[in-house]
């Protein structure tokens, strides 16, 4: 008899690509968490004599226009980028799951909630986010807030759709028959059964949020430029890209790696959870 956790990971990593994605992601997260200890240089330390130097033994990924170490900035940038992504996931998942459960379970709430969700989703994601940040002012918190507003409706949709299916299953009626309160039916019986599509959705939203944060920062509607994030690095480095490709290439690679491995992990999760879900329903 294997432990469920072991079985879970064995199934998840049956595809080597998913394993690779998980390893990359883990490396990025660890680097972000341990940034002050693993970076070779202070990300803010300017050395004008060493500006726009190509990758070398000293600066592995070269230096930017102020002579700052690109590798150190990417690692510190991971803190902001992944941090903002994680915060957006937590906020939009929490709110989206609660709202989605209610909308799917209580039919009276369904129509009004879903119309609001449809209206939000009708606006292009990045435009809505730019608008919100422009109104609120550029800061990391406002970026998190804006992106949460953009992605919550997606979660609501997924959760509501799953809830609509689950609420009609006989075990919900059985729970009511033994005297379970509506709150517990929603919070335990239904939630347990909508959890897997929500989990998959979470990885996708994480990837979108990392991308969107980079996009917003690049457009100047995100985090202030003095904070290193992958988006701000590309934004400030773009004018030197002709002479010093490393200034924009490596932050770009970081974005691609993070977004891609999150997507692959999400795909892997979905592949693993789906047949079980089908069997369960």
């Amino acid at each position: 008899m294997q432990s469920p956790a072991l079985l879970f990971f064995r199934r998840l990593f049956r595809r080597k690509l998913v394993l690779l994605a998980a390893v990359i992601l883990l490396a990025l997260v660890l680097a972000a968490l341990l940034a002050p200890w693993v970076t070779p240089f202070d990300p803010g330390a300017m050395k004008l004599v060493r500006r726009l130097k190509p990758p070398s033994e000293l600066n592995w990924l070269g230096t930017d226009e102020y002579g700052r170490d690109v590798l150190s900035r990417i690692i510190f940038g991971a803190r902001a980028s992944l941090g903002i992504g994680a915060a957006v996931v937590v906020i939009s998942m929490t709110i989206g799951t609660v709202v989605g459960l209610f909308a799917g379970f209580f039919r009276r709430l369904d129509a009004p909630v879903m119309r609001v969700v449809d209206a939000t989703m009708a606006l292009p994601d990045i435009l809505l986010a730019i608008f919100l940040v422009a109104v609120l002012g550029a800061s990391a918190w406002n970026v998190i807030f804006a992106l949460s507003i953009v992605y919550t409706p997606r979660v609501v949709r997924v959760v509501r759709a799953s809830t609509l299916v689950v609420r009609e299953l006989p075990f919900v009626e059985a729970a009511r028959a033994i005297g379970v309160s509506t709150r517990r039916i929603l919070g335990v019986h239904v939630l347990l059964n909508v959890a897997s599509p929500v989990l998959v959705q979470a990885t996708f939203i994480f990837a979108y949020a990392v991308l969107a944060e980079a996009g917003l920062s690049f457009l100047g509607a995100g985090v202030p430029p003095e904070t290193p994030t992958w988006g701000t690095m590309i934004a400030s480095g773009q004018q030197y890209a002709d002479d010093a490709f490393w200034v924009v290439l490596f932050p770009g690679v970081a974005i691609v790696l993070a977004a891609l491995s999150l997507q692959i992990l999400g795909d892997g999760l979905r592949d693993m959870l789906d047949p079980k879900l089908r069997k369960a329903v």
Binding site: L169, P170, F171, E173, A174, A175, R176, A177, I178, G179, V180, S181, H189, L192, N193, A195, K279, A280, V281
Partner: protein
């Protein structure tokens, strides 16, 4: 005996369709059903699919609100109870569901499923509840060491046992089985029926069994209610219902049971046509479109459920005048001497097996067999 549960004039109308400009169609799933359940009896509710029997079961549990009518459980009107009061009462009334696959939460372990009612009714400490859960699993014939598995690791019959254990957890007085065996293999059906009967004895339960299978019902129930298109057509104790069905619909249902009698070729009164839609039920007697004895009066006038003596009731204008029934009676007819001997032998084996174990049967089989064969040849 006193009534533990009473249903008065239960109705459930569902509205379907109906847009901006069209009127919704009213489906009369249950249309005025009244009956009482005596303490300690097994009452069966039978009928074709769509006759409203499951809806009645759910209204008894108040899982769905009746459009009209009342349900009284031990003198308490369920309709008058609020959400909290109803939840408290749920412990005393439990339900076993039809589909053992979807009536258990696939993401909860068996111990969680069976233990949930105990937790809800705040019984004992976590350890005591765990003990009781394992005890319940033993009671329904499941190995307690499987308690931490998930439902998908069990077979249909085992899952239904889990469902029964869950129903028993809150020490109910009344258990409603909504087609508790119809989703199971025939061989498993017998096991689950026997289990339900044993548990009924052991815990002094009152059972309401909803089913569409008259053969299953016959073995377990004391009284039978036959429903057709949302109303009761006949109520009778099980014996008389099977030997002398009063209502033409009951007769048709009974003649559809294959009889395990060699050489028996009964004329089957198969019903013709489909069951009419409850959205647009026939006028008068709802059965008149398919009744072989239908007359003018049946089209115009709704027959009342009339007392037919000896605890029997039927909703037919003419049940006194119908030709005597034969098909259903064949099962109740006296057995031939040879058959009686064989049955006696079977009984003997059963007792032997139950008291001394299967080996005793093997040891005993040969001489007894010979004795019977001799007896049969001499007669």
């Amino acid at each position: 005996m006193s009534a533990i549960l009473q249903a008065e004039g239960l109705k459930k109308y569902f509205k379907t369709g109906g847009g901006l400009f069209s009127k919704p169609t009213v489906v009369r799933a249950v249309d005025g059903v009244s009956f009482a359940v005596q303490k300690g009896e097994t009452l069966a509710i039978v009928g074709e699919s769509g006759c409203g029997k499951s809806t009645v079961g759910r209204m008894l549990m108040r899982l769905i609100e009746p459009t009209a009518g009342t349900v009284t459980f031990e003198g308490q009107d369920l309709g008058a109870l609020g959400e909290t009061g109803l939840r408290k009462l749920r412990g005393a009334m439990q339900m076993v569901f039809q589909d053992p696959f979807s009536s258990l939460n696939p993401r909860m372990t068996v111990a969680d499923i069976v233990g949930e009612p105990l937790w809800l009714h705040g019984e004992g400490s976590a350890r005591e509840r765990r003990e009781k859960t394992l005890e319940l699993l033993r009671t329904v014939g499941l190995r307690p060491d499987l308690a931490d598995r998930y439902p998908h690791e069990f077979s249909g019959g085992q899952r239904q046992r889990i469902g029964i254990a869950r129903a028993l957890a809150s020490s109910p007085k009344l258990v409603i089985g909504d087609e508790p065996v119809s989703a199971l293999d025939v061989s498993i059906q017998a096991q689950v029926i026997n289990l339900l009967e044993d548990l009924k004895e052991r815990f002094a339960l009152t059972l309401i069994i909803i089913a569409h299978d008259l053969a299953v019902i016959r073995h377990m129930s004391d009284r039978v209610i036959v429903m057709y298109l949302g109303s009761i057509v006949e109520v009778a104790p099980t014996g008389p219902l099977y030997s002398e069905p009063l209502h033409p619909y009951t007769r048709a249902l009974l003649s559809a049971i294959p009889l395990p009698v060699p050489g028996h070729h009964a004329e089957r009164k198969l019903l013709e046509g489909d069951i009419p839609s409850p959205a647009n039920p026939p006028s008068g007697c709802r059965f008149h479109t398919r009744c072989p004895y239908a007359q003018k009066r049946c089209v115009d006038e709704v027959p009342a459920l009339r007392d037919a003596g000896a605890g029997r009731m039927a909703a037919c204008h003419f049940f006194e005048d119908l030709p005597p029934e034969t098909a259903g009676r064949a099962l109740g007819a006296a057995d031939s001497p040879a058959k009686a001997r064989r049955l006696a032998l079977y009984k003997q084996f059963r007792t032997l097996r139950d008291t001394q174990g299967p080996e005793a049967v093997l040891r005993a089989s040969t001489p007894t067999m010979e004795a019977v064969t001799r007896g049969e040849q001499s007669s």
